[in-house]
Amino acid sequence: MARIIGGIATSHVPAIGKAIALGIQQQPYWKPFFDGFRNVHEWLDQERPDVAVVIYNDHGLNFFLDKMPTFAVGAAAEYRNADEGWGLPVSSPFTGYPAMSWHVIESLVHDEFDITTCQEMFVDHAFVVPMKLLWPDGRAIPAIPIAVNTVQFPLPTPARCFKLGKAIGRAIESFDKDHRVVIIGSGGMSHQLDGERAGFINKKFDVACLDQIVNDAAALLDMSVAELVLNAGVQGVELLNWLVMRGAMTGSVSEIHRNYHVPISNTAAAVMILENKTVRKEGLQCL
C-alpha cells in the first residue's frame, strides 16, 4: 500500500519563481528564504518520495468565475503551465499519475466529497513554485494537483479543508502500490494584496499557526473563514491548503524543519516539514 511519508508546506509567491529563473537565490534579499530549503532537499534525498500530492489554489490560470469548483482533482497524464499575464517564465510540463488520481477521485467521492475532476488542468505558480523549490534540478516526481478555491467567496471552512485532507489521506493509503507519498501544502503565510489593508502581515498569528499545525491542529479548525481573513489577510487564506495537507497526516506528527521569513514581496513566507509519528515508529521497528 502507498504510504504518506511526510508533508511539506511552502509559500509560493510568484516573485520566488522569478528569483529562481534569474538565479539570484543567494542575494541578501532572498538568501534567508532559500537557505530554508537546504534541509528540505536533504530530507527529500533521504526519504525519496516517489509521488507528490500537491494542494494548491489556482489564481485565474485554469479556472475562471464561469465555473469555479470548491475542490478539484487533477486526473491528467501531464500538467502544463502557461502564461499568467505578468511575466513569470513558463515552466516545462509536469508528469501526472492518472491511475492514482482516479483512485483518489473514487475514494473521495465515496467519502462524500463531491469534487470536480480535471483531465486537462493548467497549473499556475501555486503548483509550479513549490515543485521548483523542492526539486530545483527539474527532476520533479509525478504529481497529483488538488485545487482549493480561494478566489470567490464562500470558501470552504478550515474544518472542511481538514476533513478533505483526512479523506485524501485515506485515499492515498488505500492505493494498492508501494509508493512513498509526500503531501505538499502550497501558499501562505499571512498576506493581503488588495484594499487599504494591502501589505498586511501578522507574524504573531503565523507563528502561532505554525505551532498549532504541529501540536494542536484542532485549535485552528474552529476558525471561520472571516476570522481567517481578519488574522491572515485575504490571501493568507491559503492556510486552507496547509490544513488539507495536515489533515492527510496522522493525528500526531513530528516537526522536522521550519523556516519563517518576512517579507518575500508582500508575504510572510514559510516552509515546514512534518512526518507522521506512527510511520516513523513503524520504520524504526522494521530496522
Partner: protein
C-alpha cells in the same frame, strides 16, 4: 458547523470580500482581465483600450477606473485582485506598486513597512 461566526466580512478593516454579489457585478471586467493571460490579448488592449473594453461590454464606471489605473476603484467596481493583477501586468505594475497605491503610500514606504513587519 459547531461555531458561531463571530466576525462578519464587513468588520474586516480595509478589506473587500469578493463574494457572489461582487462576482456578478464584476463578471465582465474580470472576464476581460482573465483574457490577459494571452499575450495577443494584452497587445490588443494596449493598442486600443476602448475597442477592447467594447468586446467585453465594460461599463462606464469600470472604464473610468481602468483609465485611471486605479485598483481601489476597480475593486469597488467588482474587480478581483487575481484577475486585476493580469491587467496591471500590461503596464509592468507589481503587486507592491498596487499595494502602495491602495494604501496611499510611496512604493519605498510600502516596501519599508513590509521589511519592518518581521521585526515585531
Amino acid at each position: 458547523m459547531a461555531t458561531t461566526i463571530s466576525v462578519d466580512y464587513d468588520d474586516i478593516p480595509g478589506t473587500t470580500i469578493f463574494d457572489g454579489r461582487r462576482a456578478m457585478e464584476g463578471y465582465a471586467l474580470n472576464k476581460m482581465c482573465y483574457s490577459f493571460n494571452s499575450l495577443e490579448n494584452r497587445e490588443a488592449y494596449r493598442r486600443d483600450e476602448d475597442a477592447y473594453c467594447d468586446i467585453f461590454h465594460i461599463n462606464r464606471q469600470q472604464r473610468l477606473a481602468l483609465k485611471n489605473r486605479n485598483v481601489a476603484q476597480l475593486i469597488a467596481a467588482g474587480g478581483n485582485i487575481y484577475y486585476l493583477a493580469k491587467w496591471a501586468g500590461i503596464f509592468g505594475l507589481t503587486v507592491q506598486q498596487l499595494g502602495a497605491q491602495q494604501r496611499g503610500m510611496t512604493e519605498e514606504a510600502f516596501k519599508e513597512m513590509l521589511l519592518r513587519a518581521g521585526d515585531e
